[in-house]
C-alpha cells in the first residue's frame, strides 16, 4: 500500500512538474501583461512538433531540447511584437478570442503538416525503463523530467530574485505604471518575459511527448490543465503555479489510480471547488 502510494506520488509529481513547466509562462503572462493567452497550449504544441521534426532529421532527443527552447522563445518574441502587444489593453474577451483563433490556426497547421495521429518520440536508451531503488520502481524518464524541472525552477528563481532583470520583472508585475515612471523599459520586460514563458512552454511540450502524447489537439486538450494551474495558483505567482500544478498532477494520477471510473471528472470538480474557494488563486494578486 505504501509502495503504491509512493509510486503514485512520484508519477503525480512528474506529471505536475511538467504542467508547471508549461503553465509558468502563462502565469507570468497573465500576471504581468494581464493577457489571457489561451494560445499558450499552442506554443507548447509547437515545441513538441519542432522536437519531432528535428528528431526526424537525426538530431538526438537531448540536443533538441535547448534548440526547441530557443526557437519557441523566438517565435514568442515575434508574436508578441507583432500581434499580442496590440491587445494588452483590450477587453479579456477579445484576448480570449484572439488566442483561440491563433490556436485553431496552429491546430490546422499541425494537422496539415504532420497529420492527425500521435507522434512517436525516440528517447535515448538510458532514459527508458525504470530504476529499482529501495524497493520502488521509478521510471527513468520521469526522474529525468523532475530533475530538469527542478533545475529550471532554481534557475528561474535565481533570475527573478537575484538579478536586476528579475527585479525589473517583479516591479513591472506589481505596478507597471510606477515601474515605467522609474525608467524601467516595461515594453522590453514584457517582450523578454513573454519569450521566456513561451520558450519554457515549448520545452515542456517537447518533454511532454512521452508523457502526454502529441497530436494536433494537444493545444486544446491540455489547455484546461494549464489554465487551471494558473487560476488556482494565482496569476503572476511562480510559487502558486508550482503548488497548484503539483496538487493537480498528484490528484489526477491518484484519482485515476484509486477511482478509475471517475476519470477526468475529478479534475474538473476539483477545479470548480478550488476556484470557488479561492477566486484569486492560492497566492493570487489579480483576478
Amino acid at each position: 500500500m505504501l509502495r503504491n502510494l509512493t509510486g503514485i506520488l512520484f508519477d503525480g509529481i512528474a506529471y505536475g512538474s511538467l504542467l508547471f513547466l508549461i503553465s509558468n509562462g502563462l502565469s507570468v503572462t497573465m500576471g504581468l501583461m494581464n493577457f489571457v493567452n489561451l494560445a499558450h497550449g499552442a506554443f507548447a504544441m509547437a515545441g513538441g512538433y519542432l522536437c519531432v521534426a528535428l528528431m526526424r532529421r537525426g538530431v538526438p532527443f537531448l540536443v533538441t531540447l535547448p534548440l526547441v527552447f530557443l526557437a519557441t522563445a523566438l517565435a514568442g518574441v515575434v508574436a508578441e511584437r507583432t500581434l499580442y502587444r496590440r491587445l494588452y489593453r483590450a477587453p479579456h474577451l477579445d484576448q480570449v478570442l484572439f488566442s483561440i483563433g491563433l490556436t485553431f490556426m496552429a491546430i490546422a497547421a499541425a494537422t496539415f503538416v504532420f497529420g492527425p495521429t500521435q507522434q512517436p518520440v525516440d528517447l535515448p536508451p538510458f532514459l527508458r525503463g525504470q530504476f529499482h531503488v529501495l524497493g520502488l520502481d521509478l521510471g527513468r524518464y520521469r526522474l529525468f523530467l523532475v530533475a530538469l524541472v527542478v533545475l529550471v525552477t532554481v534557475d528561474l528563481e535565481f533570475l527573478i530574485r537575484r538579478t536586476r532583470f528579475g527585479a525589473q520583472i517583479r516591479a513591472s508585475v506589481d505596478n507597471a505604471a510606477a515601474s515605467a515612471g522609474l525608467g524601467i523599459d516595461v515594453d522590453l520586460v514584457c517582450a523578454a518575459t513573454f519569450a521566456l514563458g513561451t520558450g519554457l512552454a515549448g520545452l515542456g511540450g517537447a518533454l511532454g511527448i512521452d508523457l502526454l502524447g502529441l497530436d494536433p489537439t494537444f493545444a486544446l486538450k491540455y489547455l484546461v490543465y494549464f489554465l487551471l494551474a494558473v487560476a488556482v495558483g494565482g496569476a503572476g505567482s511562480v510559487k502558486g503555479t508550482a503548488a497548484a500544478a503539483l496538487v493537480l498532477g498528484v490528484c489526477d494520477v491518484a484519482g485515476k489510480y484509486y477511482v478509475p471510473a471517475a476519470g477526468a471528472f475529478i479534475v474538473y470538480a476539483l477545479m470548480v471547488v478550488l476556484l470557488v474557494a479561492f477566486p484569486l488563486g492560492f497566492y493570487g494578486r489579480r483576478a
Binding site: 491587445l87 484572439f98 484546461v224 476519470g263 470548480v272 484569486l280 483576478a287
Partner: protein, 340 residues
C-alpha cells in the same frame, strides 16, 4: 453638435440628428429580416434541415449574447445548458412523453434551474475565474453525460427519440418541413422575449453593469441579483435551443455538451457582433452556411480560416459584422451631413 460626439459609443443607438428616446417598436428593417425565411422555405426544399439548424444555432447564439454582450460575463461553458435542454427533451421523448411543446417547457425549466445554480459560481471573481469556472462546468457536464451512458447513450448518442405531432397536427418528416417551421416559430417567440428584456430597464441596467465596473453598486443597484437573473434567462434560452435540436433531429449526441460547441458559439456571436442580438443571428447564419459549404471541401482548411478570421476580427473589426456595418453607416451619415 452632441450627436457627432455620441457616434463612437459602441452599442449605442444609431446617432440620430435629433435626440430620440430608446423605444421598443419593431423597425421596418427588422420586420423585413424576419420575413426572409419564408421564401427560403419554397426556394430551397433540399436545405430545410440546414435552415432549421441555423435557426437553432441562432437562438443559442442569442442566449449567449444576452449573457456575454449584455451582461458582460465571458462564458466558455454555455453548451452545458444547451446539453441539459437537449437531454431533457430527448429523455422525455425516449421514455414515452413525446409531446414537443411541453418538452420545450421542461427543457427550459431544467436548464434554467441548472443555470440558476451555476450563476452563483459565476458572478464572483473576475474574467479569468469566470472563464475557468464556466469551462470547468462545461467539461464536468460532458464527463457526467459520458459516464452516465446508460441514461444518455454516451458517445453513441441518445436515439429512439420518438416525437409526437406538434399540436396534434404536424408530424416530423424526413425532408424537414415541420422542423423548419417549428424551429422558426420558437426562434421568433424567444427572440421577441429577449428583445423585450434587453430594451427594458432591466436590460439597460445589465449594460450599465457590463460597462460600469464600480458605478452600479455605488448607485445601489442589486448587481448580483441582476446578473443571476440574466444568466438564468440565458441558460433557459440555451436549453430551449438544445431541446429544439433534440426534437427536430430525434437524436442527442454527446457533442451538444463540450468545449467545441461553446467555443464555436462564442465565435458566432463575436462574428456577428456581440451586444446587438441581430449580430448573433447574422453570425449564426453566416457561420453555419460557411461551415456546411467549406468544411465539405476540406475541414482542415475550415479550421485554419476560422482561426484567421477570429484573429482578424479581433485586431481590425471589433464589433463584428454589425459593428462594422454600423460604423460604415455612421461614416456615411456624417459624410452626408457634412456635405449639406
Amino acid at each position: 453638435m452632441s450627436a457627432e460626439a455620441a457616434e463612437p459609443l459602441a452599442g449605442a443607438a444609431a446617432a440620430e440628428p435629433a435626440a430620440a428616446l430608446p423605444h421598443d417598436r419593431w423597425r421596418p428593417l427588422e420586420v423585413a429580416f424576419w420575413l426572409l425565411p419564408l421564401p427560403c422555405y419554397f426556394l430551397f426544399p433540399g436545405y430545410l434541415v440546414l435552415a432549421s439548424q441555423i435557426f437553432i444555432t441562432g437562438l443559442f447564439a442569442v442566449s449567449l449574447d444576452l449573457i456575454l454582450g449584455y451582461a458582460g460575463i465571458v462564458s466558455l461553458g454555455h453548451s452545458a445548458f444547451f446539453g441539459v435542454g437537449a437531454y431533457t427533451a430527448g429523455l422525455l421523448a425516449r421514455h414515452g412523453w413525446g409531446e414537443p411543446l411541453s418538452g420545450l417547457a421542461a427543457a427550459a425549466a431544467a436548464a434554467a434551474a441548472v443555470g440558476f445554480l451555476v450563476s452563483f459560481l459565476v458572478v464572483r471573481g473576475g474574467d479569468l475565474a469566470r472563464l475557468m469556472v464556466t469551462l470547468g462546468i462545461g467539461q464536468l457536464f460532458f464527463e457526467a453525460a459520458n459516464k452516465a451512458y446508460d441514461v444518455t447513450g454516451g458517445v453513441d448518442g441518445l436515439n429512439d427519440v420518438r416525437m409526437w405531432r406538434i399540436l396534434g397536427l404536424f408530424d416530423f418528416d424526413l425532408q424537414g418541413r415541420t422542423a423548419f417551421l417549428y424551429s422558426l416559430a420558437v426562434l421568433v417567440a424567444c427572440f421577441a422575449l429577449v428583445r423585450r428584456v434587453v430594451a427594458s430597464p432591466f436590460g439597460l441596467s445589465l449594460r450599465a453593469i457590463r460597462d460600469g465596473g464600480k458605478r452600479m453598486p455605488a448607485l445601489g443597484a442589486p448587481v448580483r441579483r441582476r446578473l443571476v437573473a440574466a444568466f438564468t434567462l440565458g441558460a433557459a434560452m440555451a436549453g430551449v435551443a438544445g431541446a429544439l435540436l433534440a426534437q427536430t433531429t430525434q437524436f442527442v449526441g454527446i457533442d451538444v455538451l463540450g468545449f467545441n460547441r461553446s467555443a464555436e458559439l462564442l465565435i458566432v456571436v463575436v462574428l456577428g457582433g456581440a451586444g446587438r442580438l441581430y449580430g448573433a443571428l447574422l453570425g449564426a447564419a453566416i457561420f453555419m452556411l460557411a461551415q456546411s459549404y467549406l468544411s465539405g471541401i476540406n475541414p482542415v482548411y475550415w479550421q485554419f480560416w476560422l482561426g484567421l478570421l477570429l484573429v482578424v476580427i479581433v485586431l481590425f473589426a471589433r464589433g463584428g459584422l454589425l459593428g462594422g456595418a454600423r460604423r460604415v453607416l455612421a461614416l456615411w451619415a456624417s459624410a452626408r451631413r457634412a456635405s449639406r
